[in-house]
Amino acid sequence: MTKVLVVDDEPNILLSLEFLMEQAGFDVFTADDGETALEVIDRERPDLVLLDISLPGISGFDVLEKIRSSDDFKKLQVIMLTAHGREVEREKGLALGADDYITKPFSTQALVNKVRNLLNEAG
């Protein structure tokens, strides 16, 4: 079963993402900060991460950099989630190796489709 990790420090957003991914039929893990996220990735080896940028402690960008710098997670798909609507953020995320980028608030349908597409392409 495809594993998806959802990372966000806003409990309600985390809750909604968790629900959406479960509904879509994935095995869902959650984390509410960067450190936890890296632990979960290391432990569970998810196929895709929905990664918020502003997190307490290490940020989403830091997490992404760590993922991409390791050979173990080459196939790991990363979708950045952010409430910062600015172009620079988007470009920075993509430059660091994010596979896609979603701005909050998002359309749930579009989000689920994006996740599915990415996983299909990879799979």
């Binding site: 957003i13 409430a83 608030p105 998002f106 349908q109």
Partner: protein, 924 residues
């Protein structure tokens, strides 16, 4: 004691002393420690006005005509008192235009006209030679009196063989002296420092000598002035001498003498020389304007006592002109009489020295040089170095002048009294006054007018004073005086057009001035000025207005540096040329491209400066001719000069204003820069704020949208989940509303538009209400809230709603940050001074010391994210504390973070001033 050799030795010894003093003055000047840089020396040198005529003649005139001799000294006093206006102007012009003499001055004023210069020089020579003769005569007579007393001096007058005549030898010695000290430099406008020093010294000697004889007569021959006057009063014929009425020509004579001496004081060539040409600093005029009149007073104070004493002595006193000598001689005081003789000698030589220098400069610059320049056949312009020639001309002129003076003295001098010769010269010099004074103050005076005035005035002077003098000497038939020329009665020299009742000087002054001034004014009104004349007229009349003018280049023409260099070199020699051209270097760019001086254009400044240098040596008119010969193009016309004048003064004003403006601009620029920096910073903060606000708004919106869509797209959702999700939507909507509310609050606080309705209220009561509002939330997390109040009632002035907002915020924060297990919050109220302090402390992790101000920044927690707050609960907006602080500031209070006291977590303290005249406080 009074033998020929001794007197001669003393006299020539005195002249030798003059040589030494003059040499010393020159040496000091070369060492840069000028003697004449002193206003006292300047004032003393002006006293060259007092000649042998004063020394011997004043007593003579007082004996004959009473106190009227004083008028000759009132005039100069008047002139000196007005000097600040008039003489200062002349000094300034002379410096700017390198004026060498009064002839040069007047010529320069009227368009640097050679004709005018020559005319003035000619009149000066003719008018003043008798005056020089007068000095020689005085020396001769005094010498005769000294050697022959008690015999008659006339026994010893020259017997025709001039080699035996002492005055001839005096003239020779003076010629040598003047050539040595008067023609050292070529540039006549440079000062004759040694000469001026010697003149100042002579002024001291003659004053001391006269005071000595005066004191001797008053206090030793008589026992004081009272005694002297009482004794004089016993002689009724003497009393008349003291009457003011006994002036030739009556009251008109008074006015005539006063005017004559005032004018002559300025226009006599030697006076112009010491007053204007030799002046080193126009500020010296200040001291001279009282010191010189004082000198005149001192030298005249004993004139009447000496005259009375001489008259009372009777025939033993001989001629009144020699009373000063005969009185000591009659009393047997030979040393004193010798001293008096030296005093007279100093008065005579001083005058002769300065006068001769002034005249020789005029002769060489205004008469000879222009003639030589005109005579092409001499090819004078082709000669290499003409500076030697110039000095030669000047030296010959000196010898000539003294020789003419001697001739005049030897041939006709005897027929006049001292005073008569002097006043004739005065009248001649006074002819310069209209051209000079009108030229200084009336821009419209033209060259033709000045020439007409000078010629007319001089002609009338010849007719009314010079020729009648010849007649009185017996050269011409005396019938000229009585019947008029060719028997025409109304042309009688002393009664022109039948004018009767005046003394001859007032009579002559009246007619000469009438003709002179009349011609200048009338002819000027009907003639036009050339461009150069207009320029010069403007420069002269506006001299006091504009200092910068002397540096304004007034040339529009062009010439090469090489050509100009050759010209200057010919006339001024190598050193002066070198000095001038080093001062005006071509700019470096020009030097690099064109090395040859012949291809380099001379700058207008260089041309103007070269002309001034030439003018200093040759006079203005010759300098003009020479510069014209190499420069193509004309000098600026009047309008150009006036516009330069105006622009210069305007430029000065503009510059001042500009400087002020640019300072102001710099200041404004600085202000703008800092304002701009501030704005940029504000702009950056605004961008940041907008980004943060949008981030903050997106967060609850994301949850709301996500759950709303979930609820919509998931029909088979169980009720429990549905309720939970709906609850999230509601809470996030509330959060969103709160956020918007807070953003608006913040905007109002920052723009100062927040409307507060302060009223007197009880802080304790308000605190309880706030606690009630958060009580449920505290219970939910089972946090213990402990309240300890220092008093039951704490009145403050505040907006109740806003105050509650603040307190709820603080309580809510404490609840959020209190420890998850066993959470505790302490609220305390204290009185500190005139304020109430409410502190809220939790037992959470606290705020690190370096963050205690940061928490009051907007969205701080979002950006920093460093204060680890308990997870799993919605965060605050990050605007609460900034808003609280803003509200408290509006209420006159404060809000800050303090070290924890009991619980070890964050401790926030708010302070509000007590309400005014609160009884509770005063009771305490």
């Amino acid at each position: 004691m009074r033998s020929d050799p001794i007197i001669l030795i003393i006299a020539f010894g005195y002249l030798a002393l003059l040589f030494i003093i003059a040499a010393w003055g020159d040496r000091r000047a070369e060492k840069g420690r000028s003697v004449i840089g002193s206003s006292t020396v300047y004032a003393l040198s002006i006293a060259v006005y007092c000649t042998a005529w004063t020394f011997y003649g004043s007593v003579g005139r007082a004996a004959e005509h009473g106190p009227s001799f004083l008028l000759i000294y009132f005039g100069p006093t008047l002139a000196m008192l007005l000097g600040w206006l008039l003489i200062r102007k002349m000094v300034r012009i002379a410096r700017a235009q390198r004026i060498t003499s009064i002839a040069d001055f007047i010529s320069a004023r009227y368009g640097k006209s050679g004709r005018i210069g020559a005319l003035v020089a000619l009149i000066a020579v003719i008018g003043v030679i008798p005056y020089i003769a007068l000095q020689l005569k005085a020396i001769t007579i005094s010498y005769g009196v000294l050697t022959s007393y008690p015999g008659s001096a006339t026994d010893h007058t020259p017997d025709g063989l001039f080699l035996l005549d002492k005055s001839f030898w005096i003239a020779i010695v003076l010629a040598v002296f003047i050539i040595l000290f008067g023609t050292r430099q070529l540039d006549a406008s440079e000062r004759h420092e040694g000469m001026v020093t010697a003149i100042a010294f002579e002024s001291i000697i003659k004053l001391l000598a006269f005071l000595a004889v005066g004191i001797f007569v008053t206090f030793f021959l008589y026992s004081g002035p009272v005694d002297l006057f009482q004794r004089a009063a016993e002689h009724p014929e003497l009393a008349q001498s003291l009457s003011l009425a006994d002036v030739p020509g009556g009251s008109a004579g008074w006015v005539g003498l006063l005017v004559l001496s005032t004018l002559a004081f300025i226009t006599l060539p030697r006076q112009f020389q010491v007053l204007v040409v030799e002046n080193v600093d126009e500020n010296h005029l200040r001291r001279a304007s009282w010191m010189f009149p004082l000198y005149l007073f001192a030298i005249n104070i004993f004139v009447i006592p000496v005259a009375l004493a001489g008259l009372m002595l009777g025939s033993a006193a001989q001629s009144p002109d020699s009373f000063v000598l005969t009185l000591p001689l009659a009393a047997g005081k030979e040393v004193l009489s010798l001293f008096v003789f030296i005093g007279g000698l100093s008065a005579a030589t001083g005058m002769m020295i300065v006068e001769t220098i002034a005249l020789s400069t005029m002769i060489s610059n205004q008469l000879v040089m222009p003639m030589l320049l005109k005579m092409r056949s001499l090819n004078i312009e082709q000669q290499e170095d003409l500076s030697g020639l110039l000095l030669g001309i000047r030296r010959i002129a000196i010898i000539l002048i003294l020789f003419l003076g001697y001739l005049y003295h030897a041939l006709i001098g005897d027929s006049y009294s001292l005073v008569t010769i002097g006043l004739v010269s005065f009248a001649a010099a006074a002819q310069f006054a209209p051209a000079l004074l009108l030229g200084l103050f009336w821009r419209g005076a033209t060259q033709a007018g000045a020439a007409a005035g000078l010629i007319g005035g001089f002609a009338v002077w010849c007719h009314t004073l010079l020729i009648p003098g010849f007649a009185q000497s017996g050269w011409i038939d005396v019938s000229l005086l009585n019947d008029g020329p060719w028997g025409i009665a109304w042309l009688r020299p002393y009664n022109l057009f039948g004018l009767e009742g005046y003394d001859i000087y007032t009579h002559a002054l009246f007619w000469t001035m009438l003709v002179n001034v009349g011609l200048i004014v009338v002819v000027s009104l009907f003639t036009r000025q050339s461009n150069l004349e207009q320029t010069q007229a403007a420069l002269f009349t506006e001299a006091l207005r504009q200092d910068a003018l002397q540096n304004t280049p007034l040339w529009r023409g062009q010439t090469s540096r090489g050509e100009l260099r050759r010209l200057i070199h010919r006339y001024l020699g190598h050193r002066a040329t070198q000095r001038l051209f080093t001062q005006y270097q071509p700019d470096t760019a020009a030097r690099e491209t064109k090395i040859d001086d012949d291809t380099l254009t001379a700058s207008p400044g260089l041309i103007a400066s070269a002309e001034k240098q030439l003018a200093g040596a040759l006079g203005n008119s010759s300098a003009r001719v020479l510069i014209n010969s190499v420069v193509k193009g004309e000098a600026l016309d009047l309008n150009a000069v006036l516009s330069i004048l105006d622009t210069t003064s305007q430029t000065l004003e503009y510059n001042r204003q500009l400087e002020q403006k640019s300072k102001e601009l710099a200041r404004i620029g600085e202000e703008l820069r800092s304002a701009n920096d501030r704005l940029r910073e504000l702009d950056r903060l605004k961008d940041e704020f907008v980004a943060m606000v949008s981030h903050e708004l997106r967060t609850p919106l994301t949850s709301i949208r996500a759950f709303a869509e979930i609820l919509r797209d998931t029909p088979n959702l169980n009720d429990e989940k549905k309720a939970h999700f709906l609850d999230v939507i509601v809470r996030e909507s509330e959060r969103l509303s709160r956020l918007i509310e807070e953003i608006l609050d913040l905007a109002r606080l920052e723009s100062g538009r927040m409307t507060l309705k302060p009223e007197r209220l009880d802080l304790v009561q308000a605190l309880h209400q706030s606690i009630d509002a958060v009580a449920r939330l505290y219970e939910e997390r089972s946090i213990e809230l402990k309240v300890s109040l220092a008093r039951d009632c704490a009145e403050v002035v505040a907006d109740p709603d806003r105050l509650q907002q603040v307190m709820i915020n603080l309580l809510d924060n404490a609840r959020k940050f209190a420890s998850t297990q066993d959470g505790r919050v302490n609220v305390t109220l204290e009185v500190v001074g005139h304020c109430f302090r409410l502190s809220v402390e939790d037992n959470g992790e606290g705020i690190p010391e370096n963050q205690r101000e940061l928490v009051f920044e907007k969205f701080h927690q979002v950006e920093q994210g460093s204060i680890t707050q308990p997870k799993g609960r919605p965060k605050g907006t990050g605007l609460g504390l900034p808003i609280c602080r803003g509200i408290l500031a509006h209420l006159g209070g404060r809000l800050w973070v303090e070290d924890p006291e009991n619980l070890g977590g964050a401790r926030l303290v708010m302070e509000l001033p007590c309400a005014p005249d609160q009884r509770v406080i005063t009771q305490e």
